[in-house]
Amino acid sequence: MNKQWLSVVIAAFFEVGWVIGLKHAGSVLEWIGTAIAIFVSFYLLIKAGENLPVGTVYAVFVGLGTAGTVCADSLLFGEPWKLAKILCIFVLLAGVVGLKLVTGESKDQEVNG
């Protein structure tokens, strides 16, 4: 996995962090952590958009963030797993892997190819 894709994945991790923060943060410290997570995730998102098409980056960011939030809800907050949820996560990952395969290394290649 190259650097740009890695930063989208890390951005999605931070997204899960701030979504949990927005829902559960209670103390000042937790709110500061949430704000830092928002900043880091968007910083990485913008950085990744320098070399990858932004439409792809944003789709992957939102998709992985959603899947991560659903997993966190089940693992940390006791939401029940459902078969349909697991299926959705697999479809989502298939879409992300597909995007990685059809997306060139840089924008120039994208346009030419």
Binding site: V54, V57, A59, V70, V91, L92, V102, G104, G113
Partner: protein, 104 residues
Amino acid sequence: MAWVALVVAGLCEMMGVYMISKYNDAKSTKNLVLLIVAFTLSFAGLAYAMETLPMGTAYAIWTGIGAAGGALLGMLFFNESKDWRRIVCIGLVFRAAIFLKLLS
């Protein structure tokens, strides 16, 4: 009102995604401010809409408008690939994200 706020929030998110491309083209303060304003309005609108609408529904519609619209703007204005395989994959990711939110 909640529905209006939700649609406006989705449009602001589209605008925000557009501004990420714009900012990467020209790193000006103006572009960065517009990017931040667009996403802030978008989150505020979503939060407002979720006070009355069910969270899963609100989030699914918001993501659908913003992310699909953002990808479309990228194809129209920033020369992003219109390869059908790319469109299919983006469609898969959105649909899965929308269903996940509707399920939870």
